[in-house]
């Protein structure tokens, strides 16, 4: 008997952060303007210590102006999607649930497409409208998914699927009236793409990420029990109604946050929690932080590949995650069937 300890959670997080740091350095190094690892480390150290005057201007431009913001965005999106996926899998008691299962991405896409039609040349309008679309969908699915005054997993899932289907139909209709230039942008957005800088300061987005992941983490002991059945969890003293509300709002906000800045990057939210379960166990007290950091690792790695494999052309990062993710998903599904 070896129960989970806070020390083990810390060790797992430290290990994954180490992997992420190595990947960030590799990602900073790779690109049209290669920089030596030593120079990258010096640039990062000087930047962290506030000694910007000691950094050569070209390094400063490439590292802090171009590559680091994109990597930071990838970390944000990966962490948000994976945590949301782990949360939804417990909330819906369905191992195949992902962040988009409840239609949040469709709501965001509808918001984005409406902004392209109504405010075509307004900077940041797509992201703000996408977040508004996601938030409206979160609210609508919440009210549709209630039964007897509280969220019911089966009703919620059905409400989400129907809402997503309805919104997709509206999106299809609206896409017929987009110009061909906007249509291409929209196609990239729908596949998931990290090339556009967020409309809002990244620090605010990180604050929202920390609050949402933290809120879900406070329910991690409860989620362990909910996985054995809601009624059983309730007998053991879990306030199931409160936990479901916190996880629903937290995971939906994380999804809305990720989708509005990067589009719908697929498979990360579905697969990363499963891979983390295989590596570190099913306990949500380690699974949530491991999924958050693991998701960041996967998205940063996928983006690195997306911008280097067919350089100078860039692929949408969602295409990379889908190419790698689909076979892994099929493997997991067949493993479960057996």
């Amino acid at each position: 008997m070896r129960p989970l300890t806070s020390r083990r959670v810390f060790n797992v997080c430290a290990l994954l952060i180490g992997v992420l740091f190595v990947l960030v350095v590799i990602s900073l190094r790779m690109g049209a303007y290669p920089i030596a690892v030593r120079d990258i480390l010096m640039t990062l150290i000087n930047g962290a210590l506030g000694r910007r005057d000691q950094i050569p201007s070209e390094f400063s431009l490439v590292v802090f102006g171009l590559r680091l913001p994109r990597i930071a965005l990838g970390i944000l999106v990966g962490a948000a999607l994976s945590t949301a996926g782990a949360g939804f899998q417990a909330l819906l008691r369905n191992p195949l649930a992902d962040p988009y299962v409840l239609g949040v991405s469709s709501g965001a896409a509808l918001g984005a497409i409406v902004s392209l039609i109504v405010l075509p040349f307004t900077p940041g309008a797509v992201q703000v409208a996408a977040f508004a679309g996601a938030a409206a969908t979160i609210g609508a699915v919440y009210f549709l998914g209630r039964r007897g005054g509280q969220l019911d997993s089966a009703t919620l899932l059905l409400a989400g699927i129907i809402t997503a289907s309805f919104l997709s139909a509206v999106i299809m209709f609206l896409m017929t009236i987009l110009s061909s230039r906007d249509l291409r942008g929209m196609a990239f957005w729908l596949m998931g793409d990290l090339s556009s800088a967020p409309a809002v300061d990244l620090r605010w987005l990180y604050l929202l990420l920390i609050v949402a992941v933290g809120s879900i983490y406070t329910t991690s002991s409860d989620l362990n029990l909910i996985l054995t059945g809601e009624q059983e969890a309730s007998h053991l003293g879990v306030n199931v109604r409160r936990v479901k509300f916190v996880v629903y709002v937290g995971a939906s906000l994380l999804t809305g946050l990720a989708v509005s800045v990067s589009g719908a990057i697929g498979y990360v939210g579905l697969l990363v929690p499963h891979v983390m379960r295989m590596l570190f166990g099913t306990d949500y007290r380690v699974l949530i932080p491991a999924s958050a950091i693991g998701g960041a690792i996967i998205v940063v790695a996928a983006d690195l590949l997306a911008r280097t494999v067919v350089a100078p052309t860039e692929l949408p990062v969602g295409a990379m995650t889908a190419i790698a993710g689909a076979p892994v998903f099929i493997y997991l599904m067949r493993r479960r069937v057996r």
Partner: protein
């Protein structure tokens, strides 16, 4: 001598017994309930006023055919539903007024086997029983592990400790589920048809175990069951339900009236009173 009496005779007096009179562990006073599919529709099932008591070291069986209200009564006792009228108290406090965690420390409910979404080892599953004893977000202490070891030992499931839950037989799983309930350290242990998927050997073993738990520990055990003969053999008190009404409460000898049981279970039965005062029920062969 029945199994219950044999066990009772072999166990030293419990510390609580030294107090003047045995406390009332569970007190049900005129508790009733009505179930409606929606808020506005007429009730489709009503449970009439039920009254009975249970004391420490007692094993109580709630008996009745299908749709007699056994599970509804169990839900009321577990605090999952609030009585429409009347009161249900555990250790002097009204169950519906207890907060969830306090309730989980006093009452453990053992239902049919869990449907696990992801695989768990036996010790991880039993450790869940310690949840109400700490903060909401917590890591288990050495004391929790000790309690889990004790709970597993109480039901003879120590060798199963490192096995996966989905690799256990029906009987083994039942013992592990019971052991998680014991890890909650409740004073009232409720079991919903625990013998349903067990063979006759498993049923007797489980009832013997529950009898021992009631005798040797502070638990009051309450079992919902269809098993007339096992209830007669092991229970101290029977609550007989029929069509939502509490028909009779008493010792097996007081409740096991042939005409009454035949009417309730709609089957030809033979009730034989044995020397120890416990009845034996069998099917009458003349039909």
């Amino acid at each position: 001598m029945s199994a219950a009496e044999q066990n009772r005779g072999s166990v030293a007096a419990h510390p609580e017994d030294s107090a003047s009179a045995p406390r009332v562990r569970l007190k049900v006073e005129q508790a009733s309930f009505a179930y409606s599919p929606t808020d506005r529709s007429a009730p489709t099932f009503t449970l009439g006023p039920a009254s009975f008591e249970a004391h420490p070291h007692e094993l109580v069986a709630i008996l009745g055919p299908n749709a007699s209200g056994k599970s509804t009564l169990l839900r009321l006792l577990a605090g999952l539903s609030k009585p429409l009228a009347g009161r249900i108290e555990v250790d002097g406090e009204e169950v519906s007024a207890l907060d969830l965690r306090t309730r989980a420390k006093r009452i453990a409910l053992v239902q049919q086997e869990s449907e696990l979404l992801f695989p768990l080892r036996v010790w991880e599953y039993v450790l869940q029983g310690r949840y109400p004893h700490g903060r909401r977000l917590r890591f288990e202490s050495d004391n929790d592990c000790l309690m889990v070891g004790n709970a597993l030992a109480q039901v003879g499931a120590e060798p199963l400790r490192d096995r996966w839950m989905d690799q256990l037989s029906g009987g083994e799983k039942q013992r592990v589920i019971l052991s998680r309930a014991l890890a909650q350290q409740p004073s009232l242990l409720l079991l919903d048809e625990p013998t349903q998927h067990l063979d006759i050997g498993g049923k007797v073993e489980l009832l013997q175990r529950l009898r021992r738990l009631a005798d040797e520990t502070r638990h009051t055990v309450l079992v919902v069951t269809h098993e007339l003969d096992l209830a007669a053999e092991f229970a101290d008190r029977i609550v007989l339900l029929h069509k939502g009404k509490c028909l009779r409460v008493g010792t097996p000898a007081e409740v096991y009236d042939r005409a009454l049981l035949e009417e309730v279970f709609e089957a030809p039965l033979e009730v034989e009173m044995r020397p120890g005062g416990r009845p034996r029920v069998s099917l009458r062969g003349d039909r």
